[in-house]
């Protein structure tokens, strides 16, 4: 019996020739990641294990991205804890305000994660790194503490579900729409504990930011990981960003899958996920009249330069609707600088959108755009749970950057096609 790409990466990191779903193994980690919310607990737990050094200061990555620039004294204390720990331990990769970015956008951009890596992160969206052909999975702070001490994590080898996407995507459809559609079909626990392997001719043509959006949201279907076998697109993206050698794994022809699910993407419209679960996805033509108070364009799902280009293309020469506040958040300093050079930030500002420094901020209702009671937001983020962006009686709808920008101008959720009609 052959192995899937996920099984091969796990086996290679557990010094085993083969592994099978259900096996519990100890795996070596290439990267162990924490942020300003999860790392403080990990640091406290690490101190309980040992008073000494972390297993390898080059492999622990701390990113202060959630409540930064710090929103209050308590969150400043949490960031301070990361900063002091990073100094004390001589960590190579600590990213603070001004050098920072949303972690899952920053790590690929800086070449910290490369194809074939095994990555754990005390953040559920660590599954993002599957876009590079790495195994990435979210864990808790105590798991991170243990990995910081011994460089290993216990993992149950997951069953894999193969998703095959075929056909040409319609205009305005992006990776975010494919994954929202997929979650709409299988539900928020449709891939519980499973590795979601995305394949098919559509995926082989899909640019990197779209792959990142898809793997990023594997967790929203309960997945342990999402993965796309690294090809020329992934290797070209990775090249020149790291001096480590990528390991290219691919699933065997006779690998076992728990299920194979096929989609013809030519029938998929831009998607909108209604409150309060990502599985409540529907095509833009079936949205109806939904007025909005706020639009957020950014996050680890859709804060890349390509996302900002799509949004700027729609905002150019137009203004955000008078009843709407729009917040655009480049995912990293690198994206921010590029958007500046390309004149995108000027387009946003002239359209009367607020441009923020990189932060996770509003995605989790932290700061920089928290909602009041009864308010409704449309966001390119990844979760729309009850109270996610603020008051428990506020609502979040999810979509891709084109629908977000068009809706910001229209004041209600609408298709970017409407823009062509001089709306």
């Amino acid at each position: 019996m052959g192995m899937t790409i996920t099984e091969k990466i796990i086996a290679a990191h557990a010094d085993k020739a083969t592994v099978a779903p259900g096996d519990i193994i100890m795996a070596s980690v290439d990267v162990a990641l924490g942020n300003d919310i999860t790392a403080p607990i990990a640091i406290k737990e690490f101190r309980k294990i040992c008073a000494g050094k972390v297993f390898d200061p080059r492999k622990i990555v701390l990113v202060a991205d959630h409540f930064t620039p710090n929103k209050d004294i308590q969150s400043a204390e949490q960031s301070k804890m990361l900063r002091e720990f990073a100094r004390e331990q001589g960590l190579t990769h600590f990213y603070d305000v001004g050098r920072c970015g949303v972690e899952h956008s920053l790590l690929p951009e800086r070449g910290i994660v490369i194809p074939g890596d095994l990555v754990i992160g005390a953040d559920s969206h660590t599954c993002t790194y599957g876009a590079l052909g790495a195994f990435g999975t979210g864990v808790g702070s105590t798991d991170l503490a243990a990995a910081m001490a011994i460089g290993k994590v216990w993992l149950k080898v997951p069953e894999s579900i193969k998703f095959v996407y075929r056909g040409e995507m319609r205009k305005w459809v992006c990776g975010k729409d494919l994954i929202l559609y997929t979650i709409g079909q299988i539900g928020v626990d449709g891939a519980l504990y499973k590795a979601m392997e995305f394949t098919g001719d559509t995926i082989s043509r899909l640019p990197m930011p779209d792959r990142i959006s898809m793997c990023n949201m594997a967790i929203e279907a309960g997945g342990k990981s999402g993965i796309i076998a690294p090809d020329r697109i992934a290797l070209d993206y990775s090249a020149g960003r790291s001096d480590r050698t990528p390991h290219v794994y691919a699933s065997d022809g006779d690998a076992h899958y728990e299920k194979v699910i096929e989609f013809d993407v030519s029938s998929i419209e831009p998607q909108v996920a209604f409150p309060s679960l990502p599985e409540n996805a529907r095509g833009i033509s079936k949205v109806g009249e939904v007025r909005i108070d706020q639009v957020v364009i950014g996050s680890c799902t859709n804060g890349q330069i390509e996302d900002l280009r799509i949004a700027a293309g729609i905002f150019k020469g137009k203004k955000v609707h008078p009843d709407v506040r729009t917040i655009v958040i480049p995912a990293t300093q690198g994206v921010y600088a590029q958007a500046l050079v390309e004149g995108l930030l000027e387009i946003f500002v002239k359209a009367e959108a607020a441009v923020s420094t990189p932060t996770c901020g509003p995605c989790l209702g932290g700061h920089m755009g928290v909602l009041a009671e009864g308010e409704r937001a449309l966001a390119t983020t990844n979760r729309n749970f009850v109270g996610r962006m603020g008051h428990p009686k506020s609502e979040v709808y999810l979509c891709g950057p084109a629908v977000a920008a068009a809706s910001a101008v229209a004041g209600r959720i609408c298709s970017p096609d409407k823009m062509d009609n001089g709306l």
């Binding site: 607990i41 969150s75 808790g140 798991d143 503490a145 209702g365 749970f385």
Partner: protein
């Protein structure tokens, strides 16, 4: 292990934002987190819950974020165990790692209502509903997780494996 307590019943897909909203994540103090436990699912829960109570929920309990603050808040609120039809995987890991007992049982999840007196008997592998006089089966805990529990959680497990390694060296 036997755990007896009064049940608080929640629905499907209870997520970590409901268990402990992100607006409180500027702290990791268990007692502070406990005062906001389950707040966006039931704003009065933290005031009503008593030491030894149990949470009973539907499928996919603890979905969403990796925040360990979620099982920490539940444990610090006095809840002694969570029973659900299924658990989201990061919550499952976190609960074992920090020592919050959790039990998977579809039957118990369907049969137990808020206010029922419930007894969990891990040796027998069953949950008794003392109010309704019914018994439900529990999915057994994987052997590796039992080792973690025996060691006293992941940190103790790692400490003992480090000591073993030192001896070998």
């Amino acid at each position: 292990m036997k755990l007896k307590g009064r049940a608080w019943r929640f629905g499907d897909d209870v997520n970590t934002d409901e268990i402990i909203p992100a607006r409180y994540l500027n702290s990791s103090d268990p007692l502070f987190l406990a005062t906001h436990c389950m707040e966006d699912a039931d704003s009065e829960f933290a005031g009503k819950v008593r030491e030894g109570d149990l949470i009973v929920a539907g499928k996919n309990f603890g979905c969403g974020s990796s925040r360990e603050h979620a099982p920490i808040a539940i444990k610090a609120s006095g809840v002694h165990a969570v029973i659900a039809a299924s658990f989201a995987r990061i919550f499952f890991r976190n609960a074992f790692n920090i020592g919050l007992p959790i039990f998977e049982s579809r039957e118990a999840s369907q049969g137990i209502a808020s206010g029922d007196e419930v007894m969990i008997d891990t040796e027998k592998g069953e949950i008794q509903n003392l109010t309704k006089q019914t018994v439900y089966r529990v999915k057994p805990i994987p052997p590796f997780m039992e080792k973690l529990i025996e060691a006293g959680g992941l940190i103790e497990f790692v400490k003992s494996s480090l000591k073993l390694k030192k001896k070998e060296d």
